[in-house]
Symmetry: C2
Subunit: 452 residues, 2 copies
Amino acid sequence: MRALEADVVVVGAGLAGLSAARRIKQAGREVVVLEARDRVGGRTLNEPIGDGKIVEIGGQWVGPTQHRALSAIEDLGLETFPTYGEGRNLFERRGRIRSYRGTIPKLNPLALAETGVVIARINRMARGVDPEAPWASPEAGRLDSQTFASWIGRHVRTAAARDLMKLAIWAVWAAEPEDISLLHVLFYVRSAGSFEDLIDTEGGAQDARVVGGAQLISLGLADALGDSVELSSPARRIEHRPDSVAVASDAVTVTARRAIVAMPPVLAGRLVYDPALPSIRDGLTQRMAQGAVVKCMAIYPEPFWRAEGLSGQVTSSDGPVSVIYDNSPPDGSPGVLLAFLEGRAARRASGLAAPERRELVIGCLRRFFGDRAGAPDAYVEKAWPNDEWSRGCYGGFMPPGAWIENGPALRKPIGPIHWAGAETAVVWNGYMDGAISAGERAADDALSALAG
Amino acid sequence: MRALEADVVVVGAGLAGLSAARRIKQAGREVVVLEARDRVGGRTLNEPIGDGKIVEIGGQWVGPTQHRALSAIEDLGLETFPTYGEGRNLFERRGRIRSYRGTIPKLNPLALAETGVVIARINRMARGVDPEAPWASPEAGRLDSQTFASWIGRHVRTAAARDLMKLAIWAVWAAEPEDISLLHVLFYVRSAGSFEDLIDTEGGAQDARVVGGAQLISLGLADALGDSVELSSPARRIEHRPDSVAVASDAVTVTARRAIVAMPPVLAGRLVYDPALPSIRDGLTQRMAQGAVVKCMAIYPEPFWRAEGLSGQVTSSDGPVSVIYDNSPPDGSPGVLLAFLEGRAARRASGLAAPERRELVIGCLRRFFGDRAGAPDAYVEKAWPNDEWSRGCYGGFMPPGAWIENGPALRKPIGPIHWAGAETAVVWNGYMDGAISAGERAADDALSALAG
């Protein structure tokens, strides 16, 4: 076993870990990053599709209020381009497909009015949640005692508006309304700004894409870190004393003064800690689970739907594919349709053999875009729940009761161990932007401790 | 690293693992049990208090329908004795202490009537749940979409009956009503028989105790297994092929044809599996968390409360101590009061320093039993959430949404790996009885596979 020394050891070379490491290096401190995979980028991942082009089978979008992500992109000399959105979107519900423009599909006027009221109500409730400490918000106990499904059941009357809310939970949390605490939904909305910030394409979280793929951010950060990043080195054990820490991976052991664990809580909970961690932290890792996404890309000679006046954007409350986007490269060639399986549909599809999963997804694409969609030139996908180093996407969610009891452990350092990862972010929790700010916050805390 | 071979390797020497190992050995197969601790018994634990006497700071009770537990006790030549229950019980609510006899405290007639109706309703709903497959029960989706707190909020009107239901959740699940899926509550009730079976002392789950302490069951089973039990050998990694398995612990590696993992799902999820496990199983280990209990025993020269006509049994919906029992040895000497912190109170108290926790508990005992209770000769306790090899008690619970998606993975073998532990039991899930039947069921499955 090789042995290394550093001021700070970072566990995980996703956006959070790499952002932390960059800041530590910029402060003139020695850093080593341990990464389980043979690549960096965590839940961002480019897949080459020939001709020097890629598709992203992990996180990809940035929005106008995601300042940390946008400045990381700018710092690295990368560029963004708008998500394709010209033409009509499609919405499927109870076997019927309608076309529409904008974010909210055409529904009957009553359901449409109610959807607006419900979103306004969620935004209003979310403004009462402190994103730094959701557990200390007024009425936190009541908000954390119920699932979002229970809240919908009591406060949303029309079936169509209920279906839209379910779709929003799939699209944003990659989980089911019954999985998630109402307080978690409100925290997440508050952390992003508003419900619309989460669900909107133009002006929202799906506004723009990174030319060359979002994994370039991580690749750029890693490049600047040089040989400080140790790939194929899954961390297994963290021995910690008040002012020192030793992290043992399969390939190398790093001794340092501080550690930053930049992983989702559930995966961080699977490391061995010596001494064992306080129960409030352990309980957090028992309860905050990861959402489930299968991200699929069908590649065609051209984006044929554009000529038909379609944006390629689809939402379906029937599923199993819940959300579709035109995910073609900036120059529109080749044509790429991105299909998401989310929540229960993703959990189920993750258990299928790859050919069956493909058939399921292509069948959905054909339903919306006709026979041409049924014969892609290529098909690539990633079932994130099956990936042992992520075990889900987009991010972690809290079931009822967890925020108020275990929330205080989410970011609180334990001895020399700091916690990062998108799940620990206060702003844009669960997003690339949140991962970056979480890494930087943990790095600042570690640097303060080193200086102190 | 020592290397051993066996037909079956069992991970965990609690009641489930030891019961599995006994059955495998009885079938003439070679077995090795790997245990993380330097003792057997898992969540059962005797603590000597002098004069050859003990108190149990882990699981202790058996009830008349717990046939597996009772026959294990009989097989080992052990005896039971009735839980002390003579005299009046105390019930505290909203600052007022009342005395009563039987299981249900004196309340106003309306609340008392409603409590009866609510319990009958829970029993009726529970009869509709298939304990082998709760996810396939009629209306499973609806029942699993809400917390038990939401169900109480909608179906229980009087404040006193609500407080009693909360107390029952503390006492049985060691969690809060908002933590648990309604479907999980119903499954658990069904698995035990009825709500009364869970909460009753006489005739219920708290009916009787084991002379010498319940850990004697595990110690007896381990004794018969001789040097097949490897202590201080925490399993870390399971490499599995269709017909073979290698389990690496810190002390020894065991190669076998089948493995039985006899641990709570969340702890089983913290081992490294090669190849990685299917996502439905991994998701189960992300979502099924452990309840929280601090079990405390105050020891007095004699059970002075008996002379005052008190049974020593207390329930308090005010907390932090929620349940108290007279836990004196069969001969009534010394006098022992057992105090439980459960659910949130236990999670919070687990984060306190031991002296503060003691003060908290003794303060509660003094409230009910006067100044003499404030000066015990000795005080012993166990904060189970802090124990890294249990990380909670009494058992695991499902938050909303987990049973219907991940439930099918609870017992389903993966290649050569079988799953045991009280959390996998169909009858008396979460109890010593369930642990024994779970171990025996996993052993039978493994033996069938060996013969096949």
